[in-house]
C-alpha cells in the first residue's frame, strides 16, 4: 500500500505534490476512495481547482465523510492551499460553499494588497519563505502561523493546513513536507 493518499477532487493538478513525495522517497496514490483515506498512513488534501466543484466531488464520493472520520480518529491530514481552506466550516469562494468543517473558521476574499497574492513570502514564526498563490484567506481561531498579517497555517489535533504550496517552495518546501511526514 502507498504511504500517502493525495485526495482527488476530480479535477486539477496533483502531479507536483506527488513529484515532491517521490523526491522524499514516499509512494503516493491519488484517490477519493473512503477506504483508502481511512487506511492510509498519511493523507494530503491538495490545493487545486475551485471550492464548489471540489466540495461537490468530495461529498459525492464519500471522501468528505472519510476525512471527518479520519480527523475524529486523530489520524493525520495535511491540507494545502484550497485543501486547507476546505477543512474550515465555510468559504466565500464561488458565491459561498460549506467546507468539510474539521476546524472552526471561514475563508474570505483578501482585501489588502495585490490580489491574488502571488509569490514567495516569509512565514512567521516558522522563519522560512514559501510560495503563495491565493485570493482567499482563512479566518480561524486555530491559526498557528502568519505571513504579512495573513493567517497562513491552521492546526488542530491531527489536522495541519497551510496556505502556501510546499511542493512549489523549493528546498524549504521539501523540508517542510519531510517534517510533516515524519512519524509523530
Amino acid at each position: 500500500m502507498s504511504d500517502v493518499v493525495v485526495v482527488d477532487y476530480g479535477a486539477g493538478n496533483t502531479r507536483s505534490v506527488r513529484a515532491a513525495l517521490t523526491h522524499l522517497g514516499r509512494t503516493s496514490v491519488v484517490s477519493s476512495d473512503p477506504t483508502a483515506i481511512a487506511a492510509s498512513d498519511y493523507v494530503i488534501l491538495p490545493g487545486v481547482g475551485s471550492a464548489r466543484s471540489a466540495m461537490e466531488h468530495l461529498e459525492a464520493t464519500g471522501a468528505a465523510t472519510a476525512l471527518r472520520e479520519r480527523f475524529n480518529a486523530g489520524r493525520r491530514i495535511l491540507g494545502i492551499c484550497l485543501g486547507m481552506q476546505l477543512a474550515l466550516e465555510h468559504s466565500d469562494e464561488d458565491g459561498g460553499v460549506d467546507g468539510i468543517g474539521l476546524l472552526e473558521g471561514s475563508v474570505t476574499l483578501m482585501t489588502e494588497g495585490r490580489v491574488p497574492r502571488l509569490g514567495w513570502a516569509n512565514v512567521e514564526p516558522w522563519g522560512d519563505a514559501y510560495y503563495f498563490a491565493h485570493s482567499f484567506a482563512a479566518q480561524s481561531p486555530d491559526g498557528v502561523a502568519t505571513s504579512e498579517g495573513v493567517t497562513v497555517a491552521v492546526e488542530r489535533d491531527a489536522f495541519l493546513g497551510v496556505q502556501f504550496h510546499p511542493e512549489k517552495s523549493g528546498s524549504a518546501g521539501l523540508n517542510f513536507l519531510e517534517r510533516c511526514l515524519s512519524p509523530v
Partner: protein, 250 residues
C-alpha cells in the same frame, strides 16, 4: 507584498529550448527539463515556458514537456503560447503547470480569461500583453491592434487574469533597461501583480524594474550565462531588492 520575483523565460520550439541558451555545463542545453532544474537550483523564483511554434501538432509534445518539467521542478511554472481554448488550458494545467499565459487568444475572445479563472482560480491565469506605442500587439509583436494597452490590462484583470505579463516591444531585446514608465502605469491601473518584461541587460535594470513592480522576466541576460544566476541575484539584492533567501539544496 510578497518578495520580488525573478522569472527566467524559456522559448520552446518542438519540445526543445531554443534561442540563446549558451552554457557548456549542461549536457543538453536544448532540454527543457535539464535547464528548468538548473535555473531552479540557481535561484529562479518561477519559470515561464513559451511555446513559440505552438502548432496543433506540437501540442502533444508541449504537454509531455510540461509533465516532465512538473516531475522535477519544485518551483512554480507558467506555460504560454498555443493556449487558445479552455481545453488547451486544462491540458496544460492538468499536466502539471501552475499557470497558463494567454495572449492573442484572450484578445480575440476575452471570455476565455474568465472561463479558465472560474475553473482554476485567477492565480492560474496570466494575461501577456505585448505593448508598443500605447496599443497592444499580437502575433509575437508583429501585428498592431487598435486596443489600447492600459484599458486592456484593466479589462483582463477584471475578467479574472491573476497577473499581467507586460512586455514593452520597443525595449525588448535591446538590453537597455525595462520600460519603467509603462510598467508603473499598468501596475497603477490594475489590482493584480504585474511582471515587467523586455530590456533586462544588467542587475541594475532588473532592480529598477523590481522597484516599480512585482516581478521581472529575464531571458538573454541569464541564458548567456545560466551559472551566473546566483550572482545576478546577489547583485540585485545588493541594490536593495529583497528576494527570497536561498539555502543550500538538500
Amino acid at each position: 507584498m510578497p518578495l520580488a520575483r525573478l522569472i527566467p523565460c524559456l522559448d520552446v520550439a518542438h519540445g526543445r529550448v531554443v534561442k540563446g541558451v549558451n552554457f557548456v555545463g549542461l549536457r543538453d542545453v536544448g532540454d527543457p527539463v535539464e535547464l528548468a532544474r538548473f535555473y531552479s537550483d540557481g535561484g529562479a523564483d518561477e519559470l515561464v515556458f513559451l511555446d513559440i511554434t505552438a502548432t496543433p501538432e506540437d501540442s502533444a509534445t508541449m504537454t509531455s514537456v510540461v509533465a516532465d518539467v512538473a516531475d522535477v521542478l519544485e518551483i512554480p511554472f507558467t506555460v504560454g503560447g498555443g493556449v487558445r481554448s479552455v481545453d488547451d488550458a486544462i491540458r496544460i494545467i492538468e499536466s502539471g503547470a501552475d499557470r497558463v499565459s494567454l495572449n492573442s487568444a484572450a484578445l480575440a475572445d476575452p471570455s476565455l480569461i474568465s472561463a479558465i479563472a472560474r475553473r482554476y482560480g485567477s492565480q492560474a491565469v496570466v494575461v501577456a500583453i505585448d505593448a508598443g506605442d500605447g496599443v497592444v500587439h499580437t502575433h509575437g509583436g508583429r501585428v498592431e491592434t487598435t486596443t489600447k494597452t492600459i484599458p486592456w490590462a484593466i479589462e483582463a484583470a477584471s475578467r479574472g487574469a491573476g497577473e499581467i505579463l507586460l512586455t514593452s516591444i520597443s525595449h525588448d531585446g535591446r538590453r537597455e533597461g525595462f520600460d519603467l514608465a509603462l510598467t508603473a502605469a499598468v501596475r497603477d491601473a490594475v489590482g493584480v501583480p504585474v511582471i515587467a518584461s523586455g530590456g533586462a541587460g544588467s542587475a541594475a535594470h532588473v532592480a529598477a524594474a523590481l522597484r516599480v513592480t512585482d516581478a521581472a522576466l529575464i531571458a538573454s541576460i541569464v541564458h548567456e550565462n545560466p551559472a551566473g544566476l546566483p550572482g545576478l541575484r546577489r547583485e540585485i539584492e545588493g541594490l536593495g531588492i529583497r528576494l527570497r533567501p536561498m539555502k543550500e539544496e538538500t
